[in-house]
């Protein structure tokens, strides 16, 4: 017994030591940081996990971020306006007949395994995409066959199309892969490829190479000192995944991470005035829209709409009703209340960050928030409330204007948006029946044309081609939000793809935006801005290289500019690893030791007892 007691006293003493040490944790943690060769690492947080880094299969934002650092494109997005800028191609020209584009390929680009990047690699990547019909890249290679892409010599790449097109300068959002590593892979192997350290390295020609990936947790990219655009200032870029925004914001405050993005307005505001943290309001690259069922099986250029039919309310096929609804929505209030002010009221379907292409309606064209005007429009068109229940009926006293309004369960803001909009519509004699559906169910409703209204969003490319395509008749049943069909618009879409120069294309695209704004198959409610924040007490080189301008991203840019310039403040080069606190090994040793001793004491005291309990 006595011996046991002495050990117990020892354990208590141990515990006290551990406790004292715990209060000095910060000092311990610092001094215990093991690696002497200071490696400069920039750490960012994301709430969006990565699934694949296959250049032909990426879907999520973090996947694109990794690819944009790991690979090069034929033509980059310019820093200021996201137009075409030199990438692997230094210059390009179109032939007289408009059918052939010739690109000069830079001679200072190398794959991360040391081989030189040649025109063959580009021709190979593009042909394979067309031949194997690989993923999203296809959209960027219109009017082309696998034979369209050739490399007459190492420094010349030639792209011949069936009709004249501006597509090669959009630029094609395709990451160029090395032919010498990918040539042997058949279609299946190309689609199934994924990064595996050691066996399947992620070899590109970009400023960073993906070198580690702990699934569901974090991934590490290592700088490529031989990058043709210059070596990055940092040694490593690490992304840590968080399952919730709150924890991610906490990690920024404690210095565990250096950068974060894509957080809600409330959390963003909570960073205000935090020492060492700079908040950054980026560009409005996406939009949230309210779509109105525009499928009219009797009158459509879409086979899909004609075959599938529609359960949509007949009133929504009348542009007057759609315009009245547009008049009844106070977009400024939505920006203020839903986005906390971090956004812009919605206008046309090309977001303003694509400053070159965005069309802003003139004062005459603008459909402003005006309930009186909305009511007047509906009165004049014969939508009267004949039975006095506050809801208008179809002209001649038919079906009441009661719309099925679908909100996404996966969108936290949906209930609030729904309440605002339903409230305004009530004031113009339109009733709504809200339903909250999962994305899966909404997709089904949308593909069956089985809805009246729904709210969803888009994150378009810098070039408007794709978002414009979603309103063409043949996108109905595929990408079209509303099954809108307008032969005039369809023709304009083809025209802009084959326009002879940028000014022509600009004029056509403006007209397309005007048509959609005037016909209102959907209402762009607002453009939401990206919200970012970083540790400005430790890092510099971000704010002077934002892209695009004047409002741009600090990080996660379309073409990575700040990835080359971000650097620690001060020549010493602070690493951020382990700076988020933590108990030092010595303290843990103490704690574990104390636990072991306590257990030992308990066991010993049990043994000591056995002779006494015969009673």
């Amino acid at each position: 017994m006595r011996r046991a007691r002495r050990i117990a006293a020892l354990a208590v003493a141990f515990g006290v030591v551990a406790g004292v040490a715990l209060t000095n944790t910060a000092a311990f943690a610092q001094s215990a940081t093991p690696s002497a060769d200071e490696k400069v690492t920039f750490v960012s947080g994301t709430t969006n996990d990565m699934r694949t880094v296959n250049p032909f299969k990426a879907i999520e934002t973090p996947e694109y971020e990794v690819l944009s650092l790991n690979y090069d494109m034929l033509i980059n997005f310019a820093k200021d306006d996201l137009g075409p800028a030199p990438g692997l191609a230094t210059e390009w020209s179109q032939s007289e007949d408009g059918l052939t584009w010739t690109f000069t390929i830079r001679d200072d680009a190398f794959w991360q395994d040391g081989e030189q990047v040649n025109a063959d690699d580009i021709a190979f990547t593009f042909s394979r995409i067309v031949e194997f019909q690989l993923g999203s890249g296809l959209d960027y290679l219109p009017y082309s066959t696998p034979e369209s892409f050739t490399a007459p010599d190492d420094r010349t790449f030639v792209w011949t199309t069936e009709v004249p097109t501006i597509a090669p300068t959009i630029p094609p959002w395709i990451y160029i892969v090395p032919e010498h590593l990918w040539a042997d892979r058949d279609k299946d192997a190309m689609k199934k490829w994924n990064f595996e350290p050691g066996t399947n390295p992620s070899i590109g020609s970009g400023p960073f190479e993906l070198t580690e990936w702990t699934k569901g947790d974090s991934w590490t990219m290592t700088a490529n000192p031989d990058y043709w655009g210059g070596a990055p200032e940092i040694d490593e870029y690490v992304v840590r995944r968080f399952n919730n925004e709150e924890a991610m914001v906490t990690a920024l405050k404690s210095g565990e991470i250096d950068y974060l993005s894509a957080i809600g307005p409330d959390l963003f505001d909570s960073l205000e005035g935090q020492a060492g943290i700079t908040q950054w309001v980026g560009p409005a690259t996406g939009f949230v829209q309210m779509s109105m069922n525009s499928c009219d099986p009797e009158n459509t250029a879409s086979d899909f709409c004609a075959d599938t039919g529609s359960t949509g309310h007949p009133a929504l096929l009348d542009p007057v009703v759609r315009t009245a609804i547009a008049h009844a929505i106070d977009k400024d209030t939505l920006v203020e209340r839903i986005l906390g002010g971090y956004g812009e009221a919605g206008e046309t379907i090309v977001p303003p960050f694509a400053s070159q292409w965005h069309y802003s309606p003139t004062e005459d064209e603008a459909v402003t928030f005006d309930l009186a005007a909305a009511n007047a429009l509906l009165d004049d068109a014969g939508y009267a409330d004949t039975d006095g229940d506050g809801v208008r009926e179809m002209p001649g006293g038919g079906e009441p204007l009661d719309f099925r309004f679908i909100l996404r369960s996966e969108d936290e803001q949906a209930p609030d948006m729904g309440r605002f909009i339903s409230g305004w519509l009530t004031e113009i004699g339109i009733a709504t029946s809200s339903e909250v559906l999962t994305d899966g169910k909404l997709v089904n409703a949308w593909l069956d044309n089985d809805y009246d209204l729904y709210i969803w969003g888009w994150g378009p490319d810098p070039d408007p081609d794709f978002i414009l395509s979603t309103f063409t008749s043949n996108q109905c049943g595929s990408w079209s939000d509303t099954c809108y069909s307008n032969p005039e618009y369809d023709q304009l879409y083809t025209d802009q793809k084959t326009a002879s120069d940028t000014a022509d294309r600009q004029a056509i695209i403006n007209e397309m935006q005007q048509i959609i704004y005037r016909d209102v198959p959907e209402i762009v409610l607002f453009y939401d801005k990206s919200l970012e924040a970083y540790r400005s007490d430790e890092w510099t080189g971000l704010e002077d290289n934002i892209s695009p301008t004047p409002e741009g991203f600090l990080w996660g840019q379309y073409t990575a500019y700040t990835a080359l310039t971000v650097q620690p403040i001060g020549a010493g080069g602070t690493t951020s690893g382990g700076s988020g606190g933590g108990v030092s090994p010595v303290v843990w040793l103490g704690i574990l030791g104390a636990i072991v001793i306590v257990i030992a004491v308990v066991l010993l005291s049990r043994r000591g007892r056995s002779d006494e309990d015969a009673a």
Binding site: I59, N194, E246, M248, N444, G581, V583
Partner: protein, 328 residues
Amino acid sequence: MGTQRYLLGKIAQVLFTLFFILTFNFFLFRIMPGDPVTLLVRSAGAELTPEQQDELRADLGLDKPIFPDQYVDYMRDTLTGNFGVSTIIDPGRPVSEIFWERMGRSFILLFTSTVASIAIGTLMGIYGGWRRGGRVDNGSMVGSMILYSMPEYVLGILLLLLFANVFQIFPTAGYIDPVADYTGLAYVADYLNHMALPFLTLTLAYLGEYYLLMRSSLLDVMGEEFITLARAKGVREKYVLRRHAVRNALLPTVTLIALSFAFVLGGAITVELVFTYPGVGLLSYDALVNRDFPVLQGTFLFFSVAVLLANLIADLTYGYLDPRVRTA
């Protein structure tokens, strides 16, 4: 003979339940609205034509009829130990491989915190029941009620705010620091730092339950006549407690330990979500969100089997501890 029949009956019951679970798992995940492809379709950047979508569906084996084709494939594969490959969250990697990698991390967390909550909760319960109405008992009674009734994620977020935000002692997420390449003791310390808050959350969350049960069970036993007899024999109070009271009072705790296994796994999911701890809990959540059917089925099957086994063990242990159960 009675024991043998009891055993065989139990095992047959388990096998039948297992078959039911396998079938149920299969259909449960397939009646959820939205197949993986339609979900991918609307994600930003996934610009797939309808033909590409069909091809993707074929790749994932979703083009065959659910019954009988997909079901038969699934049963045959599962029974032969082939759980398939992940379709979405880690495409192409065998589910069992993904699972065991994550399970290692979860096991350390779950095992240590369960042992800690049982040990601390039970010891506190014994002390509380013994010194009933004392200051310690009253204090821990209130504390236990609060911990017992608080959802794990609320407790987790509170601890996160306190230790990661206010005091900045422990990291907010992950299981190791991906930046520093720690080795040896520093690696272990880093691992423990990351495990500290999830561990604390789980331990505290389940401690109250064990405390309350042990305390009330001990109070029951202390009123029994054999305790009075032991005291009358002149056995010292300490040994009355240890040899007579605690031993009998432990019976309900054993049942609870086995039953609570299911709750611990459930708790693992919430706690791993709060602290982004990449174990099986986070894995099953990711699989659910992304409709990665093979991974989802694999993790659910494991959870179900684990609970079944725990119950079986509880039954058998109980039979061993209390012979009356076997013959009943």
